[in-house]
Amino acid sequence: MVSLRTVWQIAVVLGAGCALAGLSVGNFDATSSTITGRVAPSGVQFSDRTLAAGIRFAHFKGNNGTSTILEEAGPGVCVGDYDGDGYQDIYFVNGRDLYGRGLAARNALYRNNGDGTFTDVTEKAGVPGNAYGLGCVWGDYDNDGHPDLYVTQYGKNILYHNNGDGTFTDVTDKAGVGGMDFGTVFHSGATFFDYDRDGWLDLYVGGYANFSPSSQQVCTTEISASSSCPPAVYGGTPDVLYHNNRDGTFTNVTVAAKIYQPHGLNLSVGAADYDNDGWPDLFVANDGIEAYLYHNNHDGTFANVGLESGVALTNEGNTMAAMCISLGDFQNDGHLGLYISDFQGAGDHLWRSNGKGTFDEVSDEAGITTYTKKVLSFGGGFFDYDNDGWLDLFIANGHVYPEIDHTSTEIRYKEINSLFHNDRNGKFTDVSNTSGNGFATPHAGRGAAFLDYDNDGEMDVVVANNGDPPLLLHNDGPGRGPRNHFVNFKLVGTKSNRDAMGARVRLRAGGIRQMREIAGGGSYLSQSDLRANFGLGASRMVEEVEVRWPSGARQLFRNVAADKFYTITEGRDQLQPQAFSHSKAGAAAEAPDSRARKPKGTR
């Protein structure tokens, strides 16, 4: 997988039992944002800064002749500030030589130097990966203030614990999160999230096709050529849910949580509170079978409500290829909408939440169907690229059959990425052709992540390409006219998990009400900058910012100046500026959370 919807009138009333923190919290008056009709795209340009930034990584897909399904799955990319210097670093996942040809390849961690350039610090950090890599996510699972890194692979996954000194330690076995508990080998997307709201990040790991060296390697597909096989040939494998025991270990609770699905074909996964009940739910997008929406029952278990909620299938009743999941309040109505990408010819899918736990697919009405039928969409999702306060859509595109270059005169293996501007009237406009040289060159796009790597308040994009170098797309702003204003928040949990995953930030500025939920995972095998960046349009002041923490705590800030980067710490009354260190030696980490490594059962 948006007919012009009337704007939802939402009355969000703070519950009487909610803990109040910091400033007193009144009713966050939540009538919907004003929609004034279609707004033209802003002319923002993106430039390819990959080489200029010093990124020399190139993905090695490792095929030996016709690619297999594994070799076309392609890489993810994840963004996180591993050294705490305030600048987002990037981790690229790589393939491997599976045929004994002696070809070396490794993943790559690029440290942001704070000056627009990056340095490959993989060896020093000790995070090369050790198998055919697929995806990655960052998450401070032990609440020590240093984001840790989880890499999904074909084979056992890896959990790298961040030692806080620029190095990592492989703690996979100790933590018990290799991901092969049910025999799954072909892993895919993953996400950290705190499903039981105990303040510690849990981990969900996706499983994809049951593909092995003894499986059928190639098929003659609809393009009448020998190419990689679709997943239907192999069947699926189970995902795993790991509960954080708070002592550096995890427990597989998949069955106990009633989330065990033996035949899943998961590619992407996203955790978010879709029904606004304060508990994170789980979207699991599957390739060629129905998607799962696991509603959090608040008791450690989940229920799959995909069909009843309207997101298991497209509105035609079709399954999706579903490479990407992205959740975002693209209508500024206080509810998370959903984007899922799909195969060439199928058109991508956009859902609007009805606010009652159900969704309507609005892809056609939004105007994305026609354009996205022409491409094969992978990673990306919602982000506000022009800072007008409305979430736009970026999608990395690329086919999965290299052979199509020879069998089709219209379709190419490498494709141009897509950028859609949110026109605010329920429609999106394709602006790919007019958004700069970052959209000039076709690639076999796969994972994508959003980040503000130079901390200028404008969101950039990094794309991982299959068998090619990545793309670092710098947001150069509008070609003409003034730049829109922004405000950026980094959330630090104290009672809630340190990364604040699951926290909701809502703000009101210039007549627009926006909402972001801090979440990992999503996109395709990737993870974006966890900070919440809000575009403010012409507003120089944010009238109200409300944070709802997973712990239940709420904070409200008023009259926040725009064009700044703030840290919001749970329980602290004042906003703090984010600290940006330019030291190449790396800044000192934030003070470790006193909760780190407490014995199990204590807080």
């Binding site: 948006v2 007919s3 059928q216 098929c219 597909t221 609809e222 393009i223 009448s224 096989c229 679709p230 239907a232 040939v233 069947g235 060629g288 079978i289 129905e290 069909l307 009843e308 309207g310 299938l313 509105n315 035609e316 009743g317 079709n318 399954t319 290829a321 195969f343 060439q344 010819g345 199928a346 058109g347 159900t358 609005v362 056609d364 009405e365 939004a366 105007g367 169907t369 026609t370 354009y371 039928k373 022409k374 089709s408 005169t409 219209e410």
Partner: protein
């Protein structure tokens, strides 16, 4: 001999991962079905309380009206006659002929069936029924009737031809070849016949025969718009989109009003995601062939994809006015009304679609969604359960095909 006109394509189930449109060779419409209708047979007048003379006279008057193509009078008179003699197979059959000739195929079928019930040995009744089902696109139902005629009269060219085409349309290419092959000499210059045989040979893996037949087709067809249309259609089926477009555009250049060429171009552009171009082609085809439902149907689908249910509805309605048994148009109306929030109508049309295509997982899913919105949770669950079952079966079939355990469906 017979002019075949290419008909439209149907979308395959979208669980096929790649392009959602797999062409089925169009049902080929016989341009002259009416000529094939058996002439009214002389009545064997049963005994009634009305005198035989009066009955005979009444019958003859009705027959004269039919013979002079005064169809309203013929219909009136045969209908009146049947009040006098309700067991007259001949009168039913002739009334069926009237309906066929006035393009009311749906009404013709039950009266032909009645005639057959009353007199199974009536000359021509099987052919008439076959023609009626054929014209109403009930090819599966037409087959047994045509087969009976061919069995009884192996030299019946029309019955054999239509039987072969019916098999072809039902993708039973083996039988299509078996039935049509004996006509090779007679139809060696008929481009439509050669097209059908060329495709059928290809589908049954008689590649050499296919190549030879297409070579004859090109020789027989020459540089005519119709020929280019046939070639364009063939390339469309083979997913040679560039070549398809070339040939279809040549057909247009030769005759911009050639029926079905714009339809095929529309299908091509729809497949390529060029919605605007596809819409323009379907609009042209509607003007040229207003009596064919497919362009309306596809145009309705494009309107839905553009998010415009208001424009989609009249398109699907127009398609259904021509052929009330198009499941995709019924489902299209269901979807359009669903998007408008008119859920009762959505349910009604989706149920109608399901009655025609009960194995469509998609239709069951859409109906389930409509029930959910109507807070009919139990009904929704039933539909979702059906959808899951059907989808699982389809998925298994697809997997078997990809692994070579099952033949891949012909495109």
């Amino acid at each position: 001999m017979f002019n075949f006109f290419m008909r439209g394509t149907r979308l395959t189930p979208r669980f096929l991962r790649a392009s959602p449109a797999v062409l089925i060779i169009a049902p080929l419409l016989l341009a002259l079905p009416l000529r094939g209708l058996q002439n009214p047979t002389p009545a064997r007048l049963p005994a009634t309380t009305v005198s035989d003379t009066d009955l005979r006279a009444a019958f003859q008057r009705a027959q004269q009206a039919l013979a002079s193509k005064d169809y309203p009078a013929a219909e009136r008179r045969f209908t009146e006659f049947l009040k006098l003699d309700p067991n007259s197979a001949a009168a039913y059959s002739n009334l069926g002929v009237v309906y066929m000739r006035t393009n009311r195929i749906a009404k013709a079928i039950p009266v032909f069936e009645k005639a057959r019930e009353l007199d199974p040995q009536m000359v021509g009744i099987d052919l008439n029924l076959g023609l009626a089902y054929y014209r109403s696109r009930g090819f599966e139902k037409a087959i047994p009737y045509f087969a009976k005629v061919v069995e009884a009269q192996p030299d019946s060219l029309q019955a054999r031809y239509l039987l072969g085409v019916s098999y072809f349309t039902m993708r039973d290419y083996d039988n299509a070849v078996k039935v049509l092959e004996p006509l090779q000499e007679q139809e060696k210059d008929d481009v439509d016949y050669l097209f059908v045989m060329g495709v059928a040979y290809g589908q049954v893996k008689r590649e050499d025969d296919s190549v030879k037949t297409f070579a004859k087709l090109i020789g027989a067809g020459g540089d005519t718009p119709h020929m280019h249309l046939l070639l364009g259609k063939a390339y469309l089926d083979l997913y040679e989109n560039g070549k398809a477009e070339d040939e279809l555009q040549k057909a247009v250049a030769g005759d911009a009003n050639l029926p079905y060429v714009h339809y095929d171009l529309g299908v091509l552009y729809q497949r390529l995601g060029a919605g605007d171009k596809a819409a323009a082609e379907f609009d042209k085809e509607i003007k040229i062939s207003p009596g064919e439902p497919w362009s309306y149907q596809n145009r309705g689908t494009l309107w839905l994809e553009a998010g415009d249910a208001n424009h989609a509805i009249p398109m699907f309605q127009a398609a259904l006015k021509i052929d009330g048994k198009l499941p995709d148009s019924l489902a299209g109306l269901g979807k359009a009304y669903y998007r408008q929030g008119n859920l009762d109508k959505a349910v009604s049309y989706l149920k109608s679609a399901i009655s025609l295509e009960p194995d469509s997982a998609n239709f069951h899913y859409q109906l389930g969604q409509a029930y959910l919105k109507l807070h009919k949770a139990d009904d929704a669950r039933k539909e979702f359960a059906l959808q899951q079952t059907l989808q699982t079966q389809a998925r298994k079939k697809q997997a078997d095909q990809l692994e070579g355990k099952l033949p891949v469906p012909a495109q």
